[in-house]
Symmetry: none
Subunit: 206 residues, 2 copies
Amino acid sequence: MKPKLLIADDHTLFNEGVKQLISDHYNIVGQVFDGKDVLMMVMVTRPDVILLDINLPSINGFDLTTELRKAFETIKIVFVSMYTEPRFIEQSKQLKVDGYLLKNSTKEELILGIDSVLNGVNYYDPKLNQLRQNLHHDDFFVKQFSLTPREIEIIRMIKDGMNTTEIAEKLFLGLETVKTHRKNIYYKLSITKSTELIKFALENSI
Amino acid sequence: MKPKLLIADDHTLFNEGVKQLISDHYNIVGQVFDGKDVLMMVMVTRPDVILLDINLPSINGFDLTTELRKAFETIKIVFVSMYTEPRFIEQSKQLKVDGYLLKNSTKEELILGIDSVLNGVNYYDPKLNQLRQNLHHDDFFVKQFSLTPREIEIIRMIKDGMNTTEIAEKLFLGLETVKTHRKNIYYKLSITKSTELIKFALENSI
DNA sequence: CTTACAATACCCCTTTCGGGGGATTTTATC
DNA sequence: GATAAAATCCCCCGAAAGGGGTATTGTAAG
């Protein structure tokens, strides 16, 4: 009897593609494309394992994990994400996510990871351990906009809701220094206000 | 004779998945996973159309398009991206990219877009033009947070980068009226600043 | 040893936000 | 026609953001 698997990813092409790739190995009991549909579908189909995208509409993978853990204790949760950010990995481990696979994995790695998790062994993609700060995602935007590491750091803090004063305190910097960084960021991104910065940060997963 | 197609995407699972999905319709002459391999592969396989990811390692889709246009005049270029940023769309149009599809498209939309491009008709995903104003979403948020239609309207305008003054002018309202709406919105959403509002709006697709 | 750039810091100034009070008018509904 | 909700408008205030400069370090590359 093949293990029952649910795919949750809003990228329809990816969702469909993965189904095609692994339907020989698993019993694909469902596909969802929106975070808000996940709990319902899990309840109905009772999968053994769920492939969960982190960046889902309505409810993100982290919040979903919390909910799933409450209601379904035995279900295995495997993140399939393009993000390699350390804070994502960290949060996943804290939430006891069973596996973390990357979207640039091969079919074989995908199956290896799922099988491992089904056997009770956590599987975090080996590539996660051997990368430094910047993968090509950051590089891409660094090249496009010439953002320095400090600037990216400050963008993240602004995105997290901190104001200039708080950022200065957290980084042990003068208020004016952070103001200067903000000005430079705005100039480089051709924007004029914080709201536009938030949009930039969220849309580019910075 | 099926059209010859090349897939360039560093997400192996996506790349493979798409191949599986459309190999009935097209002759998949190659798959590449890194920007630096694209030109060589195009030279060797001479595809009619290339599905190109924007965020590729080594060389991004924009730069690759410039190079491809120089060397291969007749090849059709279709971006397949998760990004809906206006500046990406704009840049794509400037580079005369033949098509722009989203990764959350269905198999049918993908094929429709590719066929359209092969027939000489540009195809930019319709979702790109109507990314806003989803009325069904409205109901949900009205219920969850008791936001009024006017408040949702103003949230959208703030998200679009307008400040209080500009919103007042656009809606023919007094400045104080819009300020009051803002205050009420912040109260209802339990937030304190515009950056948090942007996050709320983007994360909830308002 | 220049050159270039990142990171730090300061000044002055205006505009915008955010929070605290109100109030009045329209509109829908019962 | 009373009631409730929504939409409109006003005052005051301090904090924060934004825009224009300039300047000093440190450091990596050439």
